[in-house]
Subunit: 340 residues, 2 copies
DNA sequence: TTGTAAGCGTTATCAT
DNA sequence: ATGATAACGCTTACAA
């Protein structure tokens, strides 16, 4: 097979333990032999076997990245987060292993955990139910939830500041004079939805605007869902002058619905999204949104997980990262002329 | 630590080998003991240690997915391909390990290979240079290049039919009456670029249109590069009436440049992209493109790699997958009215 | 049908 | 400073 420590030890007439020590930079080995070992290691093209190392060290230097299929439909989110995470992991010699798991069968998750193929897990799920968190805690496996708050107090998570971002968005719309603002919500009431929805309601309340249930419509977790939601809003007797879409892809769907109705954005209907994905800038007009620091969320999740891998008795780590309002033409009245 | 085979064997007063055999469904074990073993395995919550298994079997059931950072900028591509690949791998009990590697330092690649953390590699690079292929062959490691043809005859790859897709695109434009068609090309002349460029040229030649060097402009591998390329084309004394963008993101950049010039798509300038990424449908008007079967390319790459892992002495496997022309409003004259 | 024992490649402990 | 040895958890000839 390939070159092992034994090959080096034989060639140098040293014991494998000395070679191992030299290779790993232990100081109880003479400089002479260390140079010798290093030299022949390079000469022979030696590289340690990950499997042997993992078995012995009871550690893999790998991190499981567990996501569900629907993440694919928000590819900008997926790509940025994953690349951020992978890069962060690699800086400390770790790698990311991908797992598609919907979280619907705890058994497959337990199997994953017990196989110890990875040292810990990052979950990228729309919703992490309490019984799964309990199970993870029970198994005593290090984990972090990426991108959303989790109700369970013992869970660690890294999430964007959905509430304050939403509030900024609402204040922006209200400052522009909008009083009838539609909101597209989610069927499952996860924390992300809750935070954005609360921001919507509080934004209205702070402005002294009463909440109209007709202006709140539900979207499903499927493509074109935002399209139907927007149509529903536009069909109202007293339709909204602005629509707050749950996230950018929903906003893009809504954009299409609005345009099909022959309405102008933002003159007839203003439109805002959420997340700050690249795609939100590609529509005409580009869509005002709240941008979350995706790469940093990915990075921070890894760093946090590594801390838990080092010591899983740490109290839960929960971080809210700041977001940024990006005002674009979907809410701003058209400027008189264009410039390069 | 966790439950091992020994725990089961002790509890049942059996040898570890018998337990192992029972667990792995060998037939030279009585049904009674097998049920017993299976039962206590479940009862104790046993799951095999991946590390021990890997070491013993000299196999990891993991596949390395090597990509460079620039893939992040075409997130639709990245997401679809990766999810397709991950799903395909999981159906046969394999997983994907991500590696960011630009291919600029063969050393880090060799290290990766020799560590045998994975059984084989899928490369997702813009360009796979011959010396890297030579190195991979030299190391006798199974690998497949995803998404592009490779010049090296010994390399295995799965790629879309760029040439014929490009030709269809050109015929479509020419049928619409365009004779001055701009093309945005790449600085590095990889096979993908070559194929699309050849399609551009052959499309013109087949229609009896002479090639005008002014209509061929170079883009860089950076954001907004397509924007500048399009402006350069529009600034010509005799500007094109149609632009063939190297890929969809370049087309989106070009779209912006065209709109900024106050020109109408497709009336003043028709626009086509390539790849069929979701984003190409989000612009106004949506962009005509050639769609590649990304998930299938991901899937097929994994299946091909698995074949090579099973037997790397196989002759190189090289597959061209069919693509599909998607005609959208960026090339079609506006219809009189819209419908739901 | 079951058990023994060796080995995968490394690291850690304890002697020397 | 170096070496012998055990151990990590599993699989597989081979023996019984």
């Amino acid at each position: 097979m390939s070159v092992t420590i034994e090959d080096i030890s034989k060639k140098l007439k040293l014991s494998t333990s000395t070679v191992s020590k030299a290779l790993n930079g232990y100081k109880d080995v003479s400089e002479k032999t260390r140079d010798l070992v290093m030299g022949t290691a390079k000469e022979l093209g030696y590289h340690p076997s990950a499997a042997a190392r993992n078995l012995r060290r009871q550690r893999t230097d790998k991190i499981g990245f567990v996501f569900n299929n629907s993440l694919m439909y928000i590819s900008d989110y997926f790509a940025e987060v994953i690349v951020g995470a992978t890069a962060a992991a690699e800086t400390v010699g770790n790698n990311i292993v991908l797992y598609i798991n919907e979280g619907d069968s705890p058994d497959s998750l337990i199997q994953l955990i017990r196989a110890r193929e990875v040292d810990g897990f990052v979950f990228v799920w729309n919703h992490v139910p309490a019984h799964i968190v309990d199970m993870l805690l029970d198994e005593n496996v290090p984990f972090v939830v990426l991108g959303r708050r989790v109700g369970h107090p013992q869970a660690s998570w890294i999430a964007p500041d959905n509430y304050n971002g939403g509030l900024e968005l609402m204040q922006h719309l209200i400052n522009l004079g909008h009083t009838r603002i539609g909101f597209t919500t989610r069927p499952s009431m996860g924390r992300t939805n809750e935070d954005r929805f609360n921001a919507y309601k509080d934004g209205l309340i702070q402005a002294g605007i009463s909440i109209d249930r007709d202006l709140i419509v539900e979207t499903k977790l499927e493509p074109f869902s935002g399209y139907h939601a927007a149509k529903q809003l536009l069909d109202l007797n007293d339709p909204p002058t602005a629509i707050f879409a749950f996230h950018d892809y929903v906003a893009i769907d809504a954009h299409q619905a609005i345009v099909e109705r022959g309405l102008k954005i933002p003159d007839d209907v203003a439109l805002v999204g959420f997340d700050g994905l690249n795609v939100s800038a590609f529509t005409t007009p580009p869509i005002t949104t709240v941008s979350q620091p995706l790469a940093e969320i990915g990075r921070e999740s890894i760093l946090t997980l590594l801390k838990r891998i080092a010591n899983n008795d740490l109290p839960p780590i929960q971080k809210t990262l700041p977001v940024e309002l990006k005002i674009r033409r979907s809410t701003q009245p058209e400027k008189s002329s264009n410039s390069t």
